[in-house]
Assembly symmetry: C2
Homo-oligomer: 262 residues x 2
DNA sequence: TAATCGAGTGTAAGTAAAACACTTTTACCG
DNA sequence: CGGTAAAAGTGTTTTACTTACACTCGATTA
């Protein structure tokens, strides 16, 4: 486990804490960026959406070994000049064609034997897609079949992807309780029943309609807005005609960015 | 961004979903584990403890460029046959000598320019050490000074380590609310005041003594235990003599494993 | 024996959570 | 055109939790 001086490594864009010092550049020149075995690094993207009253995940059937014929989460290598987020977005785009969606880093899986070919460390992400927006799945370059599967009725999965999906569901359920991420799975305007279905499908349990609505902190259309409160939803002046029943009110999320709800 | 077939990679130990198929081994033989640039992968460990009524983090002064003279979180390369957790434990052992402590993966930082020398992706962990247990800091092989710093009065940090520490505190504060991780920062037996100090130091605010105690779900020493409830703490039959005041009751966590508290 | 220091303890008010059922609107059908 | 079906919409009660708040007890020391 002999390692070079490259110890306590780090430097990222957003917070730039210490500036590079002159000596750094001199040292940079002498640094040999090789000489010891490096793992491959990939990103895997758990792509989720809701339709048919179910939580769906996009899986690809592997047409090559290892795990040929089994289903896997889409993923690929991280480019040498690409951030992890960029790599994840690129994979997502290649797989689904979508660009501006919610993407969150989940966990990094790095057991040495998780890929039988070579050492591969994967940074898992999950993405939330607006329900029913992505019908058209471009069968990716090297992908065999690409299909939406129910998160509750999964096929046999390759690698440790079962573990990745289990962990995704756990994270998603947790965040549903204290954030507004559900907006990522709905179009801008929606009914409260549609929102409740999203919650139910993710949590895997039926919810009480009245209690669910009370829990939402809705800014009423023509009530004076309480400035002390932070609202999650806003009632719209429009309604949507029901089928063989009355019209239903439409709502929207006030903030379409990730937010912790008090 | 041309990539080989090694797509949707994965396979880990705990949940072994799909078994290796015969064809896999044949393919394995033909696989060339190189041919494209790979990033270096490191683990960085945010080592935390509580003493002097303060939340402390272990930092190392860099004696080499880049960021020479600035302070950094301990870390090092992931061995090619080592899991991420193993690498983190090894670094922790090398830095502090401790073995059996709480260690949790935090986040993976991978901006391409976070290390000016070469592409380095780091998987950040945080460790919680029992208050006052680790006095003896072995100055690591290549480390300059090694010091405990207050999380609230940090020196200038190398790389993106400021970001890592900020995120650690955020995670720790969150978990304090719904889990029993605080036990990682205390010896087996402790007083409620000691426990409250840990909470206060992490949350960065004073708490009300009576309300804090009510929130703890304590199994009373000689009360019949309510089987419906899940207790976090247990009162012990012992007390500790106070200085110039009365004796104080001792308590312990019923479960010394990570647990979600209802 | 008086003063100091921290430990230990209860109540009331307000807020949040859970359980629970009927009415309204529209479309469709006989 | 009257009845039925289907989903939307809406309040109250009870219970549990959260918050705010102040005095007494026990031991030591001067």
């Amino acid at each position: 486990m002999a390692e070079p001086d490259l110890k306590t490594t780090q430097n990222s864009s957003p917070p730039q804490p210490g500036q590079l010092q002159p000596a750094d550049l001199a040292y940079l020149a002498t640094y040999q960026a090789s000489d010891y075995e490096r793992p491959s690094v990939t990103v895997d993207i758990v792509i989720l959406t809701v339709f048919e009253q179910d939580l769906k995940v996009l899986l690809i059937r592997r047409k090559m070994p290892p795990y040929q014929g089994l289903w896997a989460v889409p993923g690929g290598f991280v480019g040498i000049r690409e951030s992890l987020d960029e790599a994840a977005r690129r994979e997502l785009r290649e797989e689904t064609g979508v660009e501006d969606v919610y993407l969150e880093q989940l966990y990094t899986f790095g057991n040495p034997d998780r890929d039988p070919r070579t050492r591969v460390i994967t940074v898992a992400y999950f993405a939330l897609l607006e329900a029913g927006k992505v019908k058209t799945l471009r069968a990716g370059t090297d992908a065999g079949e690409v299909t939406w599967w129910s998160m509750y009725k999964l096929p046999e999965l390759a690698f440790d992807h079962r573990q990745i999906l289990d962990y995704t569901l756990q994270r998603l359920r947790g965040k549903l309780g204290y954030s507004n991420i559900a907006y990522q799975l709905l179009p801008e305007k929606f009914t409260l029943t549609e929102l409740q279905r999203v919650y139910e499908v993710i949590l895997g349990e039926k919810l009480d309609k009245r209690n669910f609505r009370k829990s939402l902190s809705i800014r009423d259309l023509n009530q004076p807005s309480d400035n002390k409160k932070t609202y999650m939803l806003e009632e719209l002046p429009e309604t949507r005609p029901g089928g063989n029943y009355g019209p239903t009110k439409l709502f929207r999320f006030i903030d379409r960015v990730e937010k912790i709800i008090s």
